[in-house]
């Protein structure tokens, strides 16, 4: 059984009867058993997956109506709610939290007969970019298990990269889908803000984050988007996409398209190998008929600072409910003595979450809001104006997804400021609401490099077409697992 096939291949194979869903899911679960002890992508597994697969096989056999996923094994980042399933956010605070409802994306995938093989690891409450801040231990990069897989959707990237599932859903607040996709050599896609419902995604910084797919191919990302995008009455920020078909015309190519190379994302601090891979990608795009030219977005240099001011403010508010009154410690019918309650109220939150919540209490506080939070909002709106200006001239923008190569587990954990700076190329798309995608582009000394493309709001289709064109030029070695 070949577990390495793409999502679209999987659905074709099942449709034609070449593989049975039960077989594929069974083998997938066995494979997870075998490799995940080392990789640690999963926080919990679906014990019922094989039974669900058998039911889908029956439905296919009897000619019943069947959803577009045909029993495809998907992993779900553990900050997205699946009804009656533990949803921990990789935090001790939600260690035993069982979601009583389905996120909208889960409802939609269930309707399409997807099988959720398990919930995957992340930095606690999606705060981090290495998955080292998971309260349940880090995930490991399948390309080299001494290295981090990126984050915060590290478990999603590892599970797709190591063939523990066919596709995964992560969430991207400042690069949390694209960064691990780049580090693990998968496709990682953050759609336009509002294109996918966030209902059931546990909020970290709600004004800028989106759910996004991590897949083996760009086509798979488009396929996933077809299934989960669109207006949702449960999320007032969703946009009507008129049931767009993102797979249709995906091979349109990029001839004549104008691509801006973001100057501030290939300058200071960039790893030379990453830079040469980026230049190589640009020349490939030019060979395909695109017109590439440098463009300056000088607000990018303030983007990381603005990003952290905004996200910590929102996190301080979004996570305020985890005060140990309703979550955390075991519930006692007799109640709590007030002092004992206050003392341990936040003790179940890890170091990175604690750091950001303290910042979140400070940054928007009276007397400092003007200096930090309101200034950050100004950077956000100026950056948006700049990028909107750039899109008057360019169809797309390009940069490396991450300016550096994956680093070793433990290497940067005690230096949060240097970790923050790694977000420099990804946060712009979040702050401005634009769609962005990371495409696996090169392997340097066994470590992956991803290239990022950004499009204007609601130009997701164009973005996917360009990504597909670039992807076709790439031939990468297989992951050594």
């Amino acid at each position: 059984m070949n577990l390495k096939i793409s999502a679209l291949q999987f659905t074709r194979e099942v449709k034609t009867g070449n593989i049975s869903v039960e077989d594929f899911i069974g083998k997938t679960m066995e494979h997870i058993e075998k490799v995940d002890g080392n990789l640690h992508a999963f926080l919990s597994l679906n014990d019922n997956a094989v039974n669900q697969a058998r039911d889908i096989d029956k439905k296919i056999k009897s000619g019943d109506k069947i959803g577009q996923c045909f029993g495809m094994p998907i992993s779900i980042k553990d900050n997205i709610c699946i009804k009656d399933t533990k949803t921990t956010c990789a935090s001790k605070m939600l260690e035993n939290y069982i979601a009583p409802y389905d996120a909208t994306v889960i409802t939609k995938l269930k309707q399409q007969d997807a099988i959720f093989v398990g919930k995957v690891n992340l930095d606690e409450f999606a705060m981090g970019l290495s998955t080292e801040f998971s309260a349940y231990g880090p995930s490991r990069n399948p390309w080299n298990t001494d290295y981090v897989p990126g984050g915060s959707s590290g478990g999603s990237a590892v599970s797709v990269s190591a063939f523990e599932c066919v596709a995964s859903l992560g969430s991207d607040t400042g690069g949390s889908v694209r960064n691990p996709a780049s580090f693990c050599s998968t496709v990682g896609y953050k759609p336009t803000y509002g294109l996918i419902s966030r209902y059931g995604l546990i909020s970290y910084a709600n004004s800028i984050e989106q759910i996004g797919p991590l897949t083996r191919t760009v086509e798979d990302a488009a396929f996933m988007l077809n299934l989960i995008a669109g207006l949702d009455s449960n999320d007032n920020t969703t946009i009507n996409n008129n049931n767009a078909d993102y797979l249709k015309d995906i091979d349109s190519g990029i001839e004549g398209k104008k691509i801006g190379i973001i100057k501030e994302m290939i300058g200071e601090g960039i790893n030379p190998t990453v830079l040469s891979a980026t230049k190589n990608a640009i020349s490939k795009l030019e060979q395909l008929g695109a017109i590439c030219e440098e463009v300056s977005l000088d607000m990018v240099k303030y983007s990381v600072a603005a990003y952290y001011a905004i996200t910590t403010t929102e996190a301080g508010s979004n996570l305020a409910r985890y005060d140990n009154l309703r979550y955390g410690y075991d519930f006692s019918v007799e109640g709590y003595a007030f002092n004992a309650y206050i003392e341990k109220a936040r003790k179940k939150l890890g170091p990175e979450v604690t750091r950001r919540m303290i910042l979140g209490g400070f940054v928007p506080s009276s007397g400092y809001a003007g200096k930090y939070f309101l200034k950050a909002l100004k950077v956000k709106s100026k950056l948006t104006r700049q990028i909107d200006e750039a899109f008057k001239k360019f169809d797309l923008l390009i940069s490396p997804t991450v300016p550096i190569l994956p680093f070793k587990i433990g290497e940067k954990i005690n230096d949060p400021a240097s970790l923050f700076l790694i977000d420099i190329n990804t946060v712009t798309a979040n702050l401005t609401g634009k769609p962005a995608i990371s495409i696996p582009y090169a392997i340097s000394n066994g470590l992956p490099i991803g290239i990022q493309l950004i499009a204007n709001s609601m130009n997701d289709k164009l973005l996917l077409q360009a990504a597909r064109a670039l992807e076709k030029t790439v031939k990468l070695p297989e992951v050594p697992i």
Binding site: Y199, G200, S233, R321, D323
Partner: protein, 467 residues
């Protein structure tokens, strides 16, 4: 000079659902923690879904209070910890970055006095905390989230009141106005609450919180003025502080917690996009707004010749004016107004009595018609009303059950009067010198006619006979 300002919280009790989810706005009929869902409980991953009807009703209130209404409104998060607040922040509105709440400055006239409205905002009500236990030592705190997320409109006034009487008059007018708009039922327990701020002689402002009813608000303001005046008289400085209204002892008490020092870290609630309220929506709302109390009153006076005082009482109460609208005809309007204001209001003077009343508009119309056609006397109407409130029986049935019809003709009545005169010779003699005694004789006639005689008419006839 005494200055009093108010912050009034009024629940939009007439809406179907809560502000951000489909749980019931009428939480009162549920067992504790049964009117809840992932959204109003603030469960991880849930998002607010703005109730558009709530925005419309709140805008209506703003328009009725002559407030400016911005083109676009937005919501803010007010961050603070309290066990009754599921998310540990409240979704509310704020005007510090420009006018973005449902209503800006406005005016409400109280008699000849202008009370300036500062702003009107739409927000979610928190849950309810219930303290149990006899002493502080064994006190336990229970939280009921049924109320959490109920749509609440906050109306803030400038410190334009000078005494508790003005406060009371304002509150009466305001609660009548809200009821008339059909947005809120002020008689529901906890539907209307208020905070007040009080200062005297341009001194420090003292805030009074936790006032559960309008009745207590007037008392609290009165107490606070007296407290400040007695401090002032003895040259003791009045400190700027927040005080709580002690419901049991009926006094204000200094709050232990320094609530004025709380930093709410307000910022935009981005889960709810800006809401446009354009002229088209405003025009539609205007057309849907019910007739104002003052216009109703004017109409009652000019069209039906109802006395101004009666029209005033009738128009300011939604329950009775609705009943009037449904039961009157051009011919019987004055009679219906009379029955409502002189008889019905006395019989149905509480919320419970209104709810258990079986009286319909048709009943009222038929009673008025029966009086006008001379089938029953004005006097019997009260008995009919009383019976119908309890039983809901048809007017004709009640009239015949109580044997109230067949009003006596003049000759029949004269016969009865003559028999009373012959039976009560002593009283008749007295009546010739003492006019008070004649009422005794009227009573005797009423007894014999089982109340079916018209008392005024009877008196006239008696006077003629005796003199």
């Amino acid at each position: 000079m005494t200055k009093i300002g108010l912050e009034i919280h009024s629940q939009l009790t007439e809406l179907q659902s809560k502000l951000f989810c489909s749980c019931k706005a009428n939480y009162r009929e549920f067992q504790p923690n049964e009117n809840i869902c992932p959204i109003c409980m603030g469960l991880p991953g849930s998002l607010p879904q703005l109730n558009q009807k709530a925005v419309e009703k709140a805008t209506m209130i703003a328009m009725a209070l002559n407030c400016s209404t911005p083109e676009k409104i937005t919501f803010f998060r007010k961050n603070y910890f309290y066990p009754d607040l599921p998310k540990n922040f409240q979704i509310t509105q704020l005007n510090i970055y420009g006018e973005t709440s449902v209503g800006g400055p406005g005016i409400l006239m109280v008699g000849d006095k202008k009370i300036r409205i500062t702003r009107i905002q739409l927000e979610e009500d928190p849950g309810r905390i219930i303290y149990e236990g006899s002493s502080e030592k064994n006190q336990i705190t229970l939280v009921d989230y049924n109320r959490a997320g109920t749509p609440l409109v906050e109306i803030v006034t400038e410190p334009d009141f000078e005494n508790p009487k003005e406060v009371r008059e304002f509150l009466n007018i305001l609660s009548d106005l809200l009821a008339n708009l059909g947005v809120s039922d002020p008689s529901l327990e906890g539907a209307m609450r208020a905070d007040a701020n009080v200062s005297i002689e341009d001194g420090n402002k003292v805030e009074i919180k936790n006032i559960g009813s309008f009745h207590d608000l007037e008392k609290a303001v009165h107490f606070e003025i007296t407290r400040q005046q007695s401090l002032h008289a003895r040259n003791i400085p009045i400190i700027q502080e927040t005080r709580h209204w002690d419901d049991k002892r009926k006094i204000t008490v200094s709050s232990r917690s320094k609530e004025e020092d709380l930093d709410y870290r307000y910022f935009l609630e981005s889960d709810i996009p800006w809401v446009r309220i354009g002229n088209q929506i405003k025009d539609k709302l205007k057309s849907e707004m019910p007739e104002t109390i003052s216009s109703k009153k004017e109409r009652y006076v000019s069209k039906y010749n109802i006395p101004a005082q009666v029209a005033d009482v009738l128009s300011s109460d939604k329950f009775y004016s609705d009943l009037f609208e449904k039961s009157h005809t051009t011919e019987n309007a004055k009679e219906v107004a009379n029955i409502i204001t002189t008889d019905l209001m006395g019989l149905v003077d509480t919320r419970e009595k209104r709810e258990s009343s079986k009286l319909t508009a048709l009943h009222l119309k038929e009673i008025a018609d029966s009086i006008q056609s001379g089938k029953i006397t004005r006097n019997s109407a009260k008995n009919v009303l009383y019976e119908i409130l309890k039983t809901g029986k048809a007017v004709s049935t009640v009239i015949s059950d109580l044997d109230l019809d067949n009003v006596f003709s003049e000759s029949e009545l004269l016969k009865i009067i003559e028999s009373v005169i012959s039976e009560e010779t002593q009283a008749v003699e007295q009546a010739k010198t003492n006019p008070q005694t004649i009422n005794y004789l009227v009573g005797k006639v009423m007894q014999k006619t089982k109340g079916k005689a018209d008392p005024t008419y009877t008196l006239d006839l008696l006077k003629k006979k005796i003199n």
